[in-house]
Amino acid sequence: MKFMLKGSLIMVLSLAVFMVGFSAQQETTEIGMITPLTGGSSKAGLEMKRGAMLALDEINQAGGVLGRPLKIIVEDGESTAKASVDAAHKLVNIDQVPLIIGVWGSGPTIPTAEYTNSQGVVQICGIASSPKVRTIGPYYFSCQPLDDIRGPMLARGAHNLFPEAKKYASIVVNNAFGVGIEKYFCKEVENLGGECLVKVRYEGGKPNYRAELQRLFEVNPDVVNFVAYGKASKVILKNAYELGLEPNDAWVAMYPDMWKTTVIPKTAEGIIGLREGPKESPRMIRDFEIPYRKKYGDEAAENDLSLYSYYGYDAAWMAAMAINFAGSMDPDDIRRAIPNVWKRYEGVTGDKDVDEDGISVRIEQNWVKIHNGEYVSIPAPAEVKVGD
C-alpha cells in the first residue's frame, strides 16, 4: 500500500513537471545569450544585455516569434572563455535553445562558437573581430567586420587626414583584438608609404604605463594607433597627458566607445576615433535612444549607450527575424535564413550583409573627433573597401 502510494505520488509529480515544462515550451520561444555580467568586461556585457532586453520588449509587443513571445535566457560569461563555454553547454544541453547570441571578446567567443558549431546550434553576433572566427564553421555568423577590414580602414583614414605623416607608432592591448588591429593597421600604413616604427602591446591592470609611453614616443611619432579598454586607457591617456607626450598629428583610435565614458575628458581631447554604426540619425534616436532612456533611466543612458548596447539590440532583432524567416526552431532552417535576414535588416549598428563564411562584410563608418569629452562627427576620411 505504502509502495503504491509512493509510486502514485512520483507519477503525479513527474506528470506535473512534464506538464509545466510542456506548457512553458508552448508559451514562449526560447533563445540564449551569453554575455559577461561579471569580471573585467562586465560593463560592456551589461550594455549588451540591456540592448537585447530593449529589443525583446519591442519584439514581443510586435507579436513575438512564431506567434509566441520570445524569451532570451541570459547566461553570465564571467569575462572568461571557460565560463562562457560552460554557459554554452548549459544553453545547448539543458535549455536546448536553437540559437545563442554572444559572446563578448574574441577570446571567449571562439571556443564557445566552436562548441555550438559542433552541436549544430546557431551562434550570432559575438563581439569578436579576430579573423580566426572566419573558420569556426557554418553555424557562426558575425554582425561586425573583422580586424582585417577595420585595421586597414583606420590606417587609410589616418593617412587621408594626415597625408604628410610617415612616422607611425602603435599601442594596443595585448590580446587577439589589439594585436589583430595592430597587424592590419601597420600593414596598411606600409602600403601607404609610412612605417609603424614602434609597436607597444600593453598588459592590463598596471598602476601606470609610463614605460610603455616612453617607448612609444621615443621615435617622435606623427600618428599613434591606440586600441585600449576602459580601465587601462584612462591611465594611459592620463600618464601621456601628465608627461606631456603627444604625437605630432594625432592619436587615432579604433572603437573609442570602449573607453570614452571612462577616461578623463581633457586627456582624450582631439583623438580621432573610428566608431561602428551609422552616425546618430533621427531614426536611431527615435527607435533606440529614446526607448533606452525610458527603460533604463537617464543615468544608464548617459553611461551605457555605446556600441555594445547597439549590438545587443541588433542581435536580438536579427535572431527573432531569423527564426521567423525560417518558420521553425530548427537550427539548420535558421542558419539558412540568416543571410536573407542580414541583407534586409537595417540595424542601429548599420546595414548588414554576410559573405560565404558568415562574416559581416559591411561597415558603416562613423568617424569622430573627441572634443570636451564628446564625439564630434567628422567626414569619413577613408573609402570603404570591403574584403581588402
Partner: protein, 293 residues
C-alpha cells in the same frame, strides 16, 4: 617606503607576509574615502588613513598572528596569503572592481635635464626621503628603535633584558602599515586605485627586500632603488648596440626588451646579484637574515 615597512616586519616576525601590501591598499582606499567621499584635503586624508590603517594592522596582528607566534613559518606564510586574498576581496566588495582616482585633477610635468617628472612624483620623492630619514632616526636614535633592533636580532634575549617584545611588535605593525599606507596612497595619487594593486606591489617588494637582504631596512631601500633603476634601464637600453659592440659589427638590428617584460627584469637582477651575494646585498652570510646558512 613599502619595502622598508615590509622588511622591518619580516625582521621581527621572520616569515614572508603576503598580506602586507594589501594593508597598503586598505589604507589607500581609506584615504580615498576621506578625500573623495568625506571631502577632506588629500594629504590630511592620507595622514588620517595612515593612522587608521596602522590600527587595522595592529588589530590583524592581535587577532591572527599573535595567536600563531609559535607556529612554523610555512603555516604563517599560508595564513598571510589567505588574509591577503580576503582583504583583496573585501576591498572589491566595498568599493567595487572599478578603478578609483583621488580628487587632484591633472598636472603638467616639469622638464628637468630632458626628463619629465610630474608634481606628484616630486612629492612622492620628498615624502619617501622624509620618511626614510624619520625611520632611520626612529630605528637608530630612539629607545623604541633600539628595542626594535634588539627584538629583531634576538627576541628571547631582548625579552630577558626586560623588553616587551609584543609591545615592540605592535609598534612595528602600526608604523609599518602606516608607512605602507602613505606609499599606497602615493601610488594611487600617481595613477589610480584598484582592488588587485596589492598583488603587483607584493612582487616588487619581495624582490627588493630579498635583494637588499631580508630584514635590513637600508638594504630594502638600496634594493628598491637598484630594481627601479634596472627596470627602466633595461627597457631603455638598445641591446642590439651592445651585441654589435657599439657599432663595430652588425650582427643584429635594434633590440629592445618589450615593455611587457618589465616585471621580469627584477628577477633577472636578483639572480645575477645572488651569484655574488647569496644573502642579498646587506644580508649576513649564514646569519638570521642572510638566508644562506
Amino acid at each position: 617606503m613599502l619595502s622598508i615597512g615590509y622588511t622591518t616586519l619580516y625582521g621581527m616576525l621572520d616569515f614572508p607576509n603576503f598580506a602586507f601590501a594589501e594593508f597598503s591598499v586598505v589604507g589607500a582606499y581609506l584615504a580615498f574615502l576621506l578625500n573623495v567621499t568625506v571631502g577632506l584635503p588629500v594629504y590630511l586624508s592620507i595622514l588620517i588613513a595612515a593612522a587608521l590603517a596602522g590600527l587595522i594592522g595592529v588589530f590583524a596582528d592581535r587577532a591572527i598572528f599573535m595567536q600563531m607566534r609559535r607556529v612554523d613559518r610555512l603555516t604563517l606564510m599560508i595564513t598571510s596569503l589567505g588574509l591577503a586574498i580576503m582583504i583583496r576581496n573585501m576591498i572589491r566588495f566595498i568599493w567595487g572592481p572599478r578603478p578609483r582616482s583621488f580628487d587632484i585633477g591633472l598636472m603638467k610635468p616639469y622638464h628637468i635635464f630632458g626628463a619629465r617628472i610630474t608634481p606628484i612624483q616630486v612629492v612622492t620623492l620628498i615624502v619617501a626621503a622624509s620618511l626614510m630619514i624619520l625611520l632611520y632616526i626612529l630605528l637608530y636614535r630612539t629607545k623604541l628603535g633600539k628595542a626594535m633592533r634588539a627584538v629583531r636580532d634576538n627576541m628571547r634575549l631582548a625579552q630577558a633584558s626586560g623588553i616587551s617584545s609584543e609591545k615592540v611588535i605592535m609598534w612595528v605593525w602600526f608604523i609599518g602599515v602606516a608607512v605602507a599606507t602613505v606609499a599606497g596612497s602615493m601610488i594611487g595619487l600617481d595613477s589610480q586605485l584598484f582592488p588587485y594593486m596589492g598583488f603587483s606591489i607584493t612582487i616588487f617588494i619581495f624582490s627588493a627586500t630579498i635583494l637588499g637582504g631580508l630584514g635590513h631596512p637600508i638594504g630594502a631601500v638600496v634594493g628598491s632603488l637598484i630594481l627601479g633603476f634596472a627596470q627602466n634601464f633595461g627597457l631603455w637600453i638598445d641591446w642590439g648596440n651592445i651585441i654589435n659592440l657599439g657599432g663595430l659589427f652588425n650582427f643584429v638590428g635594434s633590440l629592445k626588451i618589450p615593455t611587457g617584460y618589465k616585471e621580469a627584469i627584477p628577477f633577472l637582477v636578483l639572480i645575477i646579484v645572488f651569484l655574488w651575494f647569496p644573502g642579498g646585498i646587506f644580508g649576513r652570510k649564514g646569519g638570521k637574515y642572510g638566508g644562506s646558512s
